[in-house]
Amino acid sequence: MSILGNRVLRREDPKFLTVGGTYVADLALPGSVHVTFVRSSMAHARIVSVDSTYAQAMPGVLAVYTNDDLGLPKFPTIMGMTNEAMTPPMLASGTVRYVGEPIAAIVAESREIAEDALEQVVVEYEPLKVVIDPVKARTDEDLLFPDAGTNTSFSLDFGGDETLFDDCEVVVELTLANQRVAPCPLEVRSAAAHMSEDGRLEFNSSTQAPHGVRDALATFLDLEPDQVHVVTPDVGGGFGAKGAVYPEDIVVGWCAQKLGRPVRWTETRSESMLGLGHGRAQVQHVRIGGTREGAVLAYRIEVLQDTGAYAGFGAVLPFMTRMMTSGPYKIPRAECASYSVVTNSTPTTAYRGAGRPEATAAIERIMDLFAREIDMDPAELRRRNLIEKDDFPYTTPVDTVYDVGDYHRALDLALEVAGYDDLRAEQVRRRTAGDVRQLGIGLSCYVEITNGLPDGEFGAVEVRPDGKVIVRTGTSPHGQGHVTAWSMLVAEQLGVAIEDIEVIHGDTDVVPRGAGTMGSRSLQVGGAAVNQAAVDVVEKAKDLAADLFEADRDDIVLDKANGRFHVVGTPALSRSWAELAEAAAKDGTALFAEVDLASPGPTYPFGTHISVVEVDTETGKVNVLRHIAVDDAGRIISPLLAEGQVHGGIAQGVAQALLEEVVYDLDGNPLTSTLADYSFISAAELPSYETRFTETPTPVNALGAKGIGESGTIGSTPAVHNAVCDAVAHLGVRHIDMPTTPVRVWSAINDAVTGHGTAKGGR
């Protein structure tokens, strides 16, 4: 009987639920000094002077460094695609471009002294014009980088087909915001560094990509990669934003080198809200056209991506948005054009979904408006346009090739679980009665790309003479549960108990290579690499067993029920894994296999989410009553972990639809830099979810699995957003931008009822 597909409890949890995890800030580092960063209080200004005289004179302060002291180069462009003039310096150099930008690093004997010293560094600014609205930034009226001559950091525009909508009976347009959000991992950024006795840089990092951190440190600090040893202890969440290397990380390493003392840095939550990359931040203009019978014929999306103050990963997010332009629909003609612009705000980066949720949000919202325009049920419109299961592999108008799917099945199942017809009947009843609390039903059919980057992954399996199995992986879990999942894969291949398997990750000396964990890639590349290594080690064991039994290699059988090898037909005479490992050791070798698996290519999970909300039309407050999620991530290896990913994803997705938004005032001052002001969602705002999986295995990889880490976020947000708009549509409201906070919803109703047109809400 296979262990795969069973609800194996997380091996990680007993520790987290009892003694707790060990994070970078928990690591003992005797004699360490602490770094804090002087951060800009201005959104855009020339730095006239940085006076650290008083701070440097404080007892316990070792040094205050500015960018000139560091002498380190700027960060490179993203794969050569982004504007070279717009890459971030290590610390602000001459100009500050967002509130929170690091200007100087203070090193002190204690964190408290370092924090006190922050108040003693005097920065004199000469204010420059602040550009906070990306629409305004695109006009290039005021420039963040005058040398660049533009605010555009990256664009994708292949020209448009002017005849795109010519044969459409109905055309609907909408401009909508996919607002800026903060990833808010519970563990903020943290790093610790010291030089070992043999001159290597020992570095602890709260990251999703330890090897990326190693390589970046080596590059910036002029070291060979093997002179840098990165270890990630437990990491309390990343959501994409810890996939990048930050200037602070490099400065911590530089200080350890420079001072020859252990150095540590842990940001505060308020710093994290400004310093950790933000997500989403697109303004979209979408246009859809088709027939009155509900055949969608053409679709075009223009994306304006807010890059923040410097062009990092956020600038290239539209690349992913573009790939998913037409979503799960068979639209004959579809186009995407995108422009990424810098603004005086925190740089944007990958955040759970990274470019794909934005694509889904756009098309799902306009599908609802199209349905309304032709007076068709939104579920029916979707059914008529979904790609058929016989169409795969399916090439979209923007040349993305979807692997496999059964989109109609997911839609039908979601409608059935929801009791869709009854919900619509209840909605009619409430509308007719003019209830204060109106019901909204929102659908979202989605498809997304996982493992979209080309990296392969390292995996290794070793069986030791004591019978223990050591698994090494290049992925870097930070909550996902790879220890459990990889153990299941290896147990399945080797026929050993999960308890006998140890999974090692996040140590660049023990694991030589790795791309890390992001983009819903881990199982289908990293898990697949470990799985392949397990298959290979079984083959090696069979070679050894053939020698020991003096039998023909092809007659050796692994009995997975007890993890023992025997010759076919004589099970009574058998050898255990430990005995074979012992035999290998006597030969002076080890029983192990290493795999560098090339990426098998991207996969495309899909599904349908349905949200049922209640809107208090007198206050605008939204209450989510139900959330139905049908997700298909191919073959499900670990249902418990997959459900966990969906649950967390829905929570973050609902949060974006209803609550979360990073807000700046016109001077670029952040208004949401604490968790009192930034509406991070909690369990009290969420219903119990109704989740189902359909399983359509992908032919792309050996496991048949697709990524499930981001689907919950991608599917849920438009469903909730559509539900809110649906609840008040009969009152004349066409659209409400996210987050659909009470004041925005009420303003939209009020404007519709009083005839003031479509409201944008309550700034």
């Binding site: 710093e271 209803l658 208004l671 509406s679 909690s682 705002e685 009470p742 309550g762 700034r763």
Partner: protein, 274 residues
């Protein structure tokens, strides 16, 4: 997120607290549950030179019943108010409201006295105590004095305590045959109210309190007068915004907050049987 340096004294008695306040004046701050003060200190918006920790003064934590009054010690925690048999039977409104403050952890740390003395216009408890016609007992070097809740909230985050006084007790007149309603609009369960309203109707009269509609917690005399004059809930609630000065932020404009005040006051009045 790390406070500036401060001195710390753990007080052993009310007299010691009053002595320390007399000695240090405005340089000293009292630490009760810490859920308002400590975040301000971490953000360095408050930098007291001395923290006087009164959290161990157990004698100030109680809920007792006198003939016409429910007396609550100033250091009674929200959780204890929410679950006390006395409040549940005699002033269930107070128990209900205390049980909705922040989240469970906040309710186990935060105290009624700390909440009131902070003078936050967004305080649920302050508005409820106004509606209930409570009095606050302050103790200073010259003994005790009672302050009417109406006179206690002076201005934005400022209350009527002298710098050498400690709030020791909250006295709530027992409402007879009371019906009540409490409504608050929040984005999240744990948030401060964007707007909130409370209404109590008993044999002794009607009380209406407003949350977050001006620089101080408010009692709406206009609505109360309308009810007394015989208006129904909707008619009386039309006066809810009268005399209010809510601030505007991304959670709502002035007009929105005043509109919501009318809605919530109407709902609270309806629940109170008006």
């Amino acid at each position: 997120m790390i406070p500036a340096t401060f001195d710390y004294v753990r007080a052993g008695s009310v007299d010691e607290v009053i002595g320390l306040l007399g000695e240090h004046g405005d340089d000293a701050k009292l630490l009760a549950g810490g859920h308002s003060l400590l975040p301000l200190m971490k953000l360095r918006l408050a930098q007291p030179a001395l923290l006087v920790d009164i959290g161990r003064l157990r004698e100030l934590s109680y809920v007792t019943e006198e003939e016409d009054v429910i007396a609550l010690g100033a250091l009674t925690r929200h959780h204890d108010i929410a679950t006390s048999p006395v409040t549940l039977s005699s002033v269930p409104l107070l128990a209900h409201v205390a049980g909705q403050i922040g989240d469970l952890q906040v309710r186990h740390r935060g105290t009624i006295g700390g909440s009131i003395c902070h003078g936050d216009p967004a305080s649920d408890l302050a508005a409820v105590l106004l509606a209930l016609g409570a009095t606050f007992v302050a103790q200073g070097p010259n003994g005790r004095r009672e302050i009417d809740a109406q006179d206690f909230f002076v201005s934005f985050f400022e209350v009527a305590l002298r710098s050498d006084e400690l709030l020791v007790e909250i006295r709530v007149p027992r409402p007879l045959d009371a019906r009540w309603g409490f409504e608050k609009l929040t984005k999240r369960a744990q948030d401060w109210a964007i707007v909130g309203a409370v209404a109590v109707r008993s044999r002794s009269g009607v009380g209406v309190g407003l949350i977050n509609l001006g620089p101080v917690p408010l009692r709406s005399s206009a609505v109360e007068a309308a009810v007394v004059a015989g208006s129904n809930a909707a008619e009386a609630a039309a006066f809810a915004a009268e005399g209010t000065e809510p601030s505007a932020d991304f959670n709502g404009s002035v007009a929105y907050r005043q509109h919501v005040a009318r809605v919530l006051v109407r709902r609270a009045l309806e629940k109170a049987g008006v």
